[in-house]
Symmetry: C2
Amino acid sequence: MVVSEYVRNLGSDHEQVVPVTMFVAVLCLCLVIGHLLEENRCVNESIIAILIGCIAGTIILLLSKGKSSHILTFNEELFFIYLLPPIIFNAGFQVKKKQFFQNFLTIMSFGVIGVFISAIIITAGSWWLFPKLGFVGLTARDYVGWLVQKLDISRIDSRTALHVIGDFFYLFLASTALGITAGLVTSYVLKTLTFGRHSSVREIALMILMAYLSYILAELLQLSGILTVFFCGILMSHYAWHNLSENSRITTRHLFATMSFIAETFIFLFVGMDALDIEMWRMTKLSFGTSMSIYSTLILLILLGRAAFVFPLSVLSNHMNRRAKRTSVITFKHQIIIWWAGLMRGAVSIALAFKQFTYSGVTSDPINATMIIDTIVIVLFSTLVFGFLTKPLISYLIPHHETIKIGQRESSSPREDLNTPLISLEEPTTSNITRAKDSLSMLIERPVCTIHFYWRKFDDAYMRPIFGGPVTSQSEC
Amino acid sequence: MVVSEYVRNLGSDHEQVVPVTMFVAVLCLCLVIGHLLEENRCVNESIIAILIGCIAGTIILLLSKGKSSHILTFNEELFFIYLLPPIIFNAGFQVKKKQFFQNFLTIMSFGVIGVFISAIIITAGSWWLFPKLGFVGLTARDYVGWLVQKLDISRIDSRTALHVIGDFFYLFLASTALGITAGLVTSYVLKTLTFGRHSSVREIALMILMAYLSYILAELLQLSGILTVFFCGILMSHYAWHNLSENSRITTRHLFATMSFIAETFIFLFVGMDALDIEMWRMTKLSFGTSMSIYSTLILLILLGRAAFVFPLSVLSNHMNRRAKRTSVITFKHQIIIWWAGLMRGAVSIALAFKQFTYSGVTSDPINATMIIDTIVIVLFSTLVFGFLTKPLISYLIPHHETIKIGQRESSSPREDLNTPLISLEEPTTSNITRAKDSLSMLIERPVCTIHFYWRKFDDAYMRPIFGGPVTSQSEC
């Protein structure tokens, strides 16, 4: 009695115990079901997590007699402080550096110009169409606040475009510099202190903590933590990782992938559960028909907005490459894949929507409720429908023998592959941006000989001796 | 401006960002300094973390102009939900199973009878001595609430001893059963689904999540999560670990050690920082002399209380072993080491003190403040002084050549060693209980041939084929 009383106090004191238990149990279920359905190539972990989240939400809804479908209110702090960093860090850590940097200009133009074009189209389109569909009450600020995909969602109203661009470059450069610094400091410490021999625990801990420190420091300095931790991941896989002992190398590369995987599954699970938030549905006050037409309009606008920059920019990129006498181009088939794969709106959108339109996960305004519902519906639809069709689309556009050919071409540079930590690991569903970049990098190979050649020389002569990593005996170009 | 405004909102919304940044930065510092001082054999990570915590506390105290020394209020939820499970799980995961179970009865008698004897002596002693020292105002409940070492701190007043014992056994058996079930289910799932080939991420994630699920489920069911996750760790290292792919094995064993290491360093850092909580010191209202005499009395009582069970129980254990014709005995030197090593009061004590005497980290009662200060002082003193002297004491009592002899004796059973995942890993400073148990297990070797022999037979014939792990061709006894 005495002991159990003690423990009872312990249990009742922790209000988080029940939701955490539920979430961990459902996560385990996701893993096992995800593995069982692995043969079915159309289904990925995100889809399963969303579906299981929906089922769990339904069960909770029934058990709580229609009161609430979610057991944990969405805590954006949880998301920004704990869930997002491992996802982005892992994306940086496992990015195929060579392809990423060779296509750096194309990727940046897609990222920056693309977002502006697509934001303008979606904003203008919804401004023009929504009142006709019977959905009124949005302010101008709400319109431009559609959270489409990325951090730098434009609130261009009454500000000069120049300011925006200047600010963007400051943010980009400062964040990147911080990430690079954190990566280099870690590499240097790991190399000079030679932890290796007996303390793998210490070197692994240092790497995790420094990566996290770079993210949280960027947030503290009001920079973009996402950019910082992404570049920190790239630097760490390029230098720091090589200073670790063999066991620590295996551990870190699997550990980062696992952390990212758990964080993503968790978010998708939450999205599935939140889709059934009955209070929010009640609050929207829109008829079924109006809602449906809004969703279809939005999805069409997103399709259109993405098409409006993928195809022109690809043509432009091809043109530039031909002028620079580079061999490979983005074929039309590849353009379709780039267009399609980027349509999937992910967990970040949901988080931003909650941040924008609620106060700590709760909203009382019907307009705000509608905005959140819209975001959730679009994430659900794009992940489930577009995600489901991505693999068949790729197999249809690029038959298997062609993929092999690309694979062979890629593997003609084995030296870089040896330096890339994450070759044999199957990639968990990473965030959209990275996914798009990755497919881009894997499909195209275009050697930027000049810059790359000098970078390799500089890297081998000055960087690697200080920060670690194998020195290549010769450059590839 | 637009972008930076967005980011500024992001930063200011998260009040946790500043403390988290500080803690992570100081943790990194601890790691590096800990590594640099590694040659000095007297200093361990806990001592460094406490000292750095004190220094950081002083700096914060000066910066905040004497207002507060801690940047994060002690959140017992943080401790019980996130920091404790990895420490205990890792202790179970890396425990030397053979020695642990061979000495199971001795360990249990030390754990259970020992705690009772020591609790009675300390309670009675402080009851008798404290009023003489000028410290009055404690209720009977406060006296018996001295948090000495373990979960089942006795509140025996007005309850029958029988009830306590019955309850203890229920708690012990139910928690153990839950932990064993969780371990076996994980092993079975990992074995039958054969994740291995391409999805190390999934199997690692499943193992982490199941281990955590067992802990949090035990807390939910008002059992002892500590016992559950400890046995879950033992079962997982005995079965589940063998079902993993080679890379996952390396990853899990390093990952668990790293998580445990980070959690412990974090706690000790917090203790160091909290020692300078100026408000609490002001609140105690006791003179310096009175405080000092209370601390010395408590430390003396703890020394006495531990001596009162270690030596008699060791003699009893030796007597039993002689009757059962077992060879090895606990020599007097070993008894001194067991007595001494268990004197270190650790992070769990602090957490329990905060839980007992504060309301979410804040207290307004001077008596309660005194109790917390006492606990902190004792943890500081025992970790710094006793901890500092432990290694010299062991070297003095057991010279190096004897240690080697013991090592040779131990390694005469290589087969079991092969099955133990954590051989080559240096052990981070684990919780006191485990440390005591471990030194106990490592110092003594006493084959319990009969039980062990039949267990091995049963294990090889029925358990391992179902749950995984290599089948030994012959037993050792």
